[in-house]
C-alpha cells in the first residue's frame, strides 16, 4: 500500500506542482528511492553525489525525525505520513 509523502514548497516544481505524492516502499530508503525514480528532478535536491541524504534536508516519519529512528532503514507502516523538511530562508539572494 502506498504511503503519502508531503512535498515542501521549494521542491514542488519537481513533482509537477503536487504537494503530496503516493509512493510504495517498506522503508524510508525504499520510499525515497522510488520517489526520486518517479520524479528524477528531486534527486540532486535530496541526495549528494555520494548518494547520501543531504544534511539540510530532514525526513520525518509522522512527527519523528528519522535520524533518531533507524534513519533510511526505518520501517514504514500503512497510513504513515512522510515529510521532507528542507531549510528555507526568506529573501536569500544568493541564487
Amino acid at each position: 500500500m502506498p504511503n503519502k509523502i508531503l512535498i515542501p514548497t521549494p521542491l514542488r516544481p519537481f513533482t509537477g506542482k503536487q504537494d503530496a505524492v503516493e509512493v510504495d516502499g517498506a522503508t524510508i530508503g525504499e520510499l525515497l528511492a522510488n520517489l526520486t525514480t518517479k520524479y528524477a528532478g528531486l534527486k540532486p535536491h535530496l541526495y549528494n553525489d555520494q548518494g547520501k541524504l543531504r544534511s539540510f534536508v530532514n525526513v520525518y516519519l509522522n512527527d519523528e525525525d528519522i535520524r533518531y529512528l533507524e534513519k533510511e532503514k526505518t520501517a514504514v507502516k500503512p497510513g504513515d505520513t512522510i515529510s521532507i523538511i528542507p531549510s528555507v530562508a526568506g529573501g536569500y539572494t544568493g541564487v
Binding site: T9, P10, D63, D65, V88, G90, G91
Partner: protein, 384 residues
Amino acid sequence: MALTNDEVKRYSRHLIMPEVGVEGQEKLKKGSVLCIGAGGLGSPAALYLAAAGVGTIGIVDFDVVDFSNLQRQVIHGTPDVGRSKLASAKDRLLSLNPHINIETYETALSSKNALDLFKPYDVILDGTDNFPTRYLTNDACVLLGKPNAYGSIFRFEGQASVFAMKDGPCYRCLYPEPPPPGLVPSCAEGGVLGVLPGVIGTIQATEAIKLIMGIGEPLVGRFLIYDALRMKFRELKLKKDPDCPVCGTHPTVTALIDYEQFCGVAPAATEVGVSTASSETETDVKELKRKIDAKEEFFLLDVREPNEYQIGKIPGSTLIPLGEVPQRVNEIPRDREIIVHCKMGGRSAKAAAFLRQQGYTNVKNLKGGILEWIDKVDPSQPKY
C-alpha cells in the same frame, strides 16, 4: 519596576488576566527583545512586542524601505519608502507605545559584533532572511545561553520554533549544515504571501512574550510548520543532538566563526554545479540586444515561472520553467547557440549547467537576468 497610571490604563486587558497581572506586565516592562531585521518577520513581531509593553526593543538592520517591502513589512508605510528601516520602525513603534525604549543598530550582524549586541537582551528574535545570519544568530544565542525565537518563511509556508534554551535543541541540531548557495530558491525569486510573515512573526512575538513572563509552554523541542494554502499547522518533534557541533556534549564550535564562508557565500565561492563564469559560459544584456538587432540565429530560453513571464519578457524568448527543463529538453534545439535567462541569473545558471551535462555544447547564461535587461536595455518594463 512599577507601572505608571498611564501604563495601567494601556495594559488593562493584560492586567485583568491572572496569568499576566501586574507581575507579568512588570516583567514585560523590565524585559528586552532584540529583533534581527525589521523586515517581513521583524515588522509584525516588533509591533506586537511594542504594543504588549516589552520595555526595550532592539532592532538590527541596515536596509532601506523599498516599495516591494510594503506588501508584508507592515511596520513601514508608503511615505517611509527610501528611509532607513530603523528610523521608520522606531517612529512607528514609539507612536504605538511611547512608554517603551527602542534601540536601533544600523549595522550588519557579524561575528565581531553579535555577542556584544545580544548580551543585554533577554530574548533574540530571529527574523533573518539568509543562512549566514541565521547560523550566526543561532551560534551566538547558544554561546550566550539566550533563547532564540526563530521563524522562517517561503511562499505559503512558514516555520517557527524556540532554540537554544537550556536542554532544548538549537537550529544546528535541526540542520547541522546550510544548503549550498543556489540549491534553495530565494524569496526574491520564490515570492512570499504577504500575510505569511504576519502569522509567523506573531508566533515569534508570542513566544518571546511568554518567555519573558515565564508562562505557558514554550515552543521548545517542537518545530511548527504552517501551510497557509491548506490552512494547516503541523508540529514535528525536535531533539537536542548530543553530537551538535555547537550545543552538543563535545562542542567543536566554541566561538563565532566566519559564517559567509561556512555557508559558501564568500565572494570567491562559485555556485553549485556552475563552473567559474567566462565568455564561454556567460553573456550580458548588451550582447544579447546586439544579437537580437542583428537577427542572429540563437535560442533564447526563459526558465522563470509562467506568472513571471506574464509580468514581462525579453522578445523572442521561449518559456520552459526550470523545474520542467529535464522533461522538456527535446524542445530545446541542439543545432544553435542557447542563451538562458531568468530573473537575476541564478536559476538560468542551473539550467545552463544542466544543459551542458545533457551534451549541449554552446550554452550561455545571461548575466543579471531580465532585471539587468530592464535596467540597461528596456526600462519601459516593470521590475518585480
